[in-house]
Subunit: 194 residues, 2 copies
Amino acid sequence: MPRWPTNALGRLQDAAMELFLERGYTATRVSDIATHAGLNERTFFRYFADKREVLFWGTDLLQAFAAETILAAPSDVLPLDAAFSALEAAATELQGRPAWSRSRQALIAAHPELKERELAKHAALAATIADALRKRGATDGTATLVAEAVLAVFKVGFDRWLAEPVPSDLPQHLRDALVELRAVTGDPTPRSTP
Amino acid sequence: MPRWPTNALGRLQDAAMELFLERGYTATRVSDIATHAGLNERTFFRYFADKREVLFWGTDLLQAFAAETILAAPSDVLPLDAAFSALEAAATELQGRPAWSRSRQALIAAHPELKERELAKHAALAATIADALRKRGATDGTATLVAEAVLAVFKVGFDRWLAEPVPSDLPQHLRDALVELRAVTGDPTPRSTP
């Protein structure tokens, strides 16, 4: 089957994942990935700094997108809603390749060096979200609490989405997890109407 | 000034921090720390696997304490309250040496390898808390959301405590941060009385 020549990024990601699953992450070399994708190493390094980065491509884009979306929210939108909406909007883009995402998650769970990288990326995303919220006027405390809370919501929603036999609607899983967050953190005593 | 001979752990921690601040973390060797504490390297390695672990001593204890405290909570205590109470109880122990904690935090912020380690420890603590909550009957989603939420509360409370001119009441800072978490995640529409 001929391959669409301009989609080098996707071809490299697919080739890498195939080899990671067949030969193992450690045994796979950048040159193997490039060859398997029908491309050369130079093209590989146009997209990725190293083998590990194949699994983390797009995280910088996600950070930039989240910050911009939060800053573009009308000023009367509450911090939690602004931050959640940004991740909800990103989710539509992130749900394109569930099989790939599932393999990626399994690889990360199996390799401490990948797990470390994933944690660092999550921390960077939380810091970016908190920073955007502060720029909208949130206090340091609120910004941090909201950023960590929406990332927890994202994590729970994403895991549930991937656990589906056929992962479908990631944004809906995120909305469900947000409802659950509100329930578990909610004041247990009912408020009275004003 | 004579040193209390049995407090080898505290002496090693203090000696390490003094050298980290004077000479830099990277330039300080285990042998320097032991000598500065008036002890030998063998004693150092009785407490710490390496230089880095001086800064992370006690995190395993904290995990075990949190899990036990959560599992000991009466079954009608809500997950968030059980998890929060465990960290609140631990806070009394953790607030003993604010100057040391403040130096530690500055070192971690300045060294990516320490930051990585700190993130891994946080993730392990979150996983332990979530696991204890599941053992009490919480669903996977609730357990993860609550664990991440209380760690966010801890982080915010801890940072505020350390930012005080004279850090005093860590548990109170945690309670204040919990109130703030409830406020930022609360349903914005007031509930009516049943």
